[in-house]
Symmetry: C2
Subunit: 189 residues, 2 copies
Amino acid sequence: MRRLAEELGAEAMSLYYHVAKKEDVLDGIVDVVAEEVNDAAARVDSGPDWKGTARRRILAARQVFLRHRWAPGLFATRSSTSMAVLEYYDNLVALMREDGFSHDRIHHALHALGSRALGFTQELFDPGTGASAEVPAEVAERLPNLVGMLSEIAHDDPDSTLGWCDDQAEFEFGLDLILDGLDRLRERD
Amino acid sequence: MRRLAEELGAEAMSLYYHVAKKEDVLDGIVDVVAEEVNDAAARVDSGPDWKGTARRRILAARQVFLRHRWAPGLFATRSSTSMAVLEYYDNLVALMREDGFSHDRIHHALHALGSRALGFTQELFDPGTGASAEVPAEVAERLPNLVGMLSEIAHDDPDSTLGWCDDQAEFEFGLDLILDGLDRLRERD
DNA sequence: ACCTGAACACCGTTCAAGT
DNA sequence: ACCTGAACACCGTTCAAGT
């Protein structure tokens, strides 16, 4: 609050005339970003199949989060969801409904996708942070399989030494895995 | 820190003799929980196929997080990963390796699973928090598809009014979607 | 070796008082 | 209507001083 007020050329206490508490400010920021996501998603043209359209929408949403890298962390802390986020999911429900999914299946799908539907995943651990070369021998011995995997991947693709792990390709792999799986279930709906 | 010290019957400042900063305490807690997860995973007996074994391990890990519901939130805030967590993933790599996966495919798989491999998912929004009946008409009109979906699901399964959405079934659905997808790819490795 | 009191630099927030 | 200074109740952390 104090920092935000300074940025605005005012005192921290002045903020409390416009807003009840800090949480409300954060909720507002989430809303702004979510609107930006909705705008981006609305600009993708829809094709004949739900899967392609969903994929393009989600990748468009992802672009917004790539521009605001602090946003996923913020979204994760919010408990009550913003109206704009709900509208995004609402549109996804409509899209799947049009292609024959049952409500029950869509419900499962939303849970399975989680934040991936919005275009981001929170990486729990970044296996690439420490390149295999930097790992002290002592810990490497306790992680033979992980270290083996990482060293082979680094070897195969030496260009990506900085970030050997291509986040975009990674995201698309996981996304397609889920979308394809859901599409297969659709045929039974 | 002050609260923790009180719980221990000491002053907050005493903690700093044993630990450098608060973050180290949190890292330690993560380690303890992760060891608990490793113990649980080690107790499941491995079957002939990687998929079944992975599934049982992950569901055993999940039990640990169900006992410590604050843990997922804690894990999400950590940036550097604990050794114990890495060991858990190392074991997963070994399991998939034995069943013919390439290193590259395993790498993708770990990213696709994310925290689900450890047995939990961070729900970005809980569509069930507000039962459809409680939703004010004004917002319901802006979310026709979501409200329609939720009301039908609530109608189909009136027993689960409190938590109409069965987390365990939800988790297993998403997990199987990914494991099945990966298994199909394995046949091409 | 282990603990503590006093103190510092931060927070978010309240409220009576200013213009 | 909008802003502010002083103040409160919290944080994590340091450090010299205690036993």
